[in-house]
Amino acid sequence: MTTATPVRGARTASMAQALNSALRDAMQADPAVHVLGEDVGQLGGVFRITDGLTKEFGADRCLDTPLAEAGILGTAVGMAMYGLRPVVEMQFDAFAYPAMEQLFSHVAKMRNRTAGRLPLPITIRIPYGGGIGGVEHHSDSSEAYYTHTPGLHVVTPATVADAYGLLRASIASDDPVVFLEPKRLYWGKTEFDPALPVEPIGRAVLRRTGRSAVLITYGPSLPVCLEAAEAARAEGWDLAVLDLRSLVPFDEQTVCEVVRSIGRAVVVHEASGFGGAGAEIAARVTEKCFHHLAAPVLRVTGFDIPFPPPMLEHHHLPGVDRILDAVARLQWED
């Protein structure tokens, strides 16, 4: 549970707290920023990301809505049309699905439909992914639905600093942003200073350098990849780890530079592999870096199955061993 007291300067914070600070600071900085969703008010959200906002800014600014996701997002569209910057919370990944028509047919398209006259600066926060023992419908990784929808930005932080910085940047964006929050990273604490800027949306960041191969990843899989890179040293592999941070815009330039210089890559994400974001990354990187590749770009992803029940989810989620197995298949003998 986060504290509702704002703190300035460097601090130790969880991602949940950093997100909470980002919302608070954005609301303070710009009266147009409004938060709405299910249980975001008095309860502070089921993950407490909106904790204290209603108390500080009033129910007009942080609104408990009726329980209807299409209604929430549709209402946010209207609010944005009037000049507000709504931040919508979807309570869990799978509960964003009722809002898909509003998202695909309006949120993503309104700017284009009106030749730029009606931009929709809406941020849609969606806690996503597994690893928290959630029962069915509470652990989906739905990013591929969003990345394939032109008009949406798709952003997902993997560090506490990025959680703060990317959420501020998303709210400040004049375009709709699907902001995917890796649930299982909510609680881990690190040192961070909200005053320190992070790289902008659309920029990938190399979290670890390495010369054997690069793990390309985002969101909940970043810590797993860093752990795998550490473990790989024992096998004699020096793995780089690249954190995409935003899937749209996709930082093709950075990704391709890294892949070209290393020559071997594995894409890692939790979502099912078939048609997942990793497919786009692998296909694109291959097209652009073909002659620099010593081996095909491999993917380590969730299986092509509905998300498993809590007791079995660890078999589904990409772990260190599965990543190392993939690295081993990068045709080192060639």
Binding site: G58, A70, G71, M81, A115, L118, S173, D174, P249
Partner: protein, 379 residues
């Protein structure tokens, strides 16, 4: 103290143990048993003649607009036109009930309401012509783009009205829907949000008896669509949708109540779609000619002419003037649409995002190169 703090009496002890019934009295929310009418009733005498003349003028011009647009589809100059022929009273009354600062949220059939609001009649047809998704500036005209996905504009109207209310602006949003649209989840969610937020929004359902081929009896078993209001705790009104002054009165009352903090209203207007669903539809497959003929007798223009004439309120000069204005508009439409639209293919990339992604930039370059190569060939 915030706007929302007092939207409802906070604690409702009625729901605690000892509850004896509903939190509020449903009676005032139920529509009258008879649709509101002005034409043919004593209320006509009390109606401002200028208003009646303006309604009449817009009906006549609107009908011609519908007809000309329908003709243009046959000539292939419009991709599609969902005509509001027969429903013009709803269209013009909706536009006239709104003030400058208010917002209209039309459905795909409501081009005429958009035009009657003051949007350029040709720009309003851009979507249906097929050259761009929206021809007018929604912000400047306070008119949302024509909504194709049914009922999806309803929550937009609620959100905009809510935002305006929070800002303290006396702005009302009017969402227009069809009878079929009331079956969609978005309709339900919008009405519920509107009621809970007490948003200044009015929902006008044009019940024209059909959703494409599906008659109302297969769409809803409700006593009337206006009766849906009670389930949200807002008033429902039933009005003759071909009686322009009645519509104007009911809409104006609802708009003014919304503006003064009285919350949303659901209005059902009983009307009929004289043309097929669109030019792509064949209405003979699902309805009988006599049904259409019966409604032609209850045509909104005919009704106005009959009753205004009977009341001595319609003079020939007005009739001639309206007809001339209508022909002028039709001529302008023909002239414009028989010329080919000028289009820039590169506009496809201009507004997907505020800033194009690297991928879009690459794709735009690709198209530009293709166009240049084509131009080369043609020179």
């Amino acid at each position: 103290m915030t706007v929302l703090d007092h939207r409802h009496p906070a604690a409702v002890p009625g729901w605690l143990p000892g509850a004896t019934g509903p939190r509020s009295d449903p009676a005032p929310l139920l529509p009258d048993a008879t649709p509101v009418r002005v034409l043919g009733t004593p209320a006509l005498e009390k109606t401002d003649p200028e208003l009646l003349h303006e309604l009449y003028r817009r009906l006549v011009v609107g009908r011609r607009y519908n007809q000309q647009a329908t003709t243009l589809t046959k000539q292939g100059r419009l991709a599609v036109y969902p005509a509001s022929t027969g429903q013009e009273a709803c269209q013009v009354a909706a536009a006239m009930a709104l003030g400058e600062q208010d917002w209209l949220f039309p459905s795909y059939r409501d081009t005429l309401a958009v035009v009657s609001r003051g949007v350029d009649p040709l720009e309003a047809l851009t979507l249906l012509r097929g050259n761009a998704h929206t021809g007018y500036d929604p912000k400047a005209t306070r008119t949302a783009p024509l909504a194709t996905p049914l009922a999806t504009q309803a929550p937009h109207a609620v959100g905009l009205a809510h935002a305006a209310r929070l800002a303290g602006d006396p702005v009302v949003a009017l969402a227009m829907l069809g009878d079929g649209g009331t079956s969609e989840g978005d309709f339900h969610e919008a009405l519920n949000f509107a009621a809970v937020l007490n948003a200044p929004v009015v929902f006008l359902v044009q019940n024209n008896g059909y959703a494409i081929s599906v008659p109302l009896t297969q769409q809803s078993a409700a006593p009337s669509l206006a009766h849906k209001a009670v389930g949200y705790g807002i008033p429902g009104r039933l009005v003759d949708g071909n009686d322009a002054p009645a519509l104007h009165a009911v809409l104006t009352e609802a708009v003014e109540r919304a503006r003064s903090g009285g919350g949303p209203t659901l209005i059902e207007a009983l009307t009929y779609r004289i043309e097929a669903h669109t030019n792509a539809d064949d209405a003979t497959r699902y309805r009988e000619d006599d049904e259409v003929a019966a409604w032609r007798e209850h045509d909104p223009i005919l009704l106005m002419e009959r009753h205004l004439a009977a009341a001595g309120m319609l003079d020939d000069a007005l009739v001639r003037d309206c007809a001339a204005q209508a022909e002028d508009l039709a001529a302008r439409m023909r002239a414009e649409f028989h010329a080919d639209a000028q289009l820039d293919p590169m506009s496809l990339f201009a507004h997907v995002y505020a800033e194009p992604t690297p991928q879009l930039r690459e794709q735009a370059d690709q198209l530009a190169a293709e166009l240049a190569a084509e131009a080369e060939v043609h020179h």
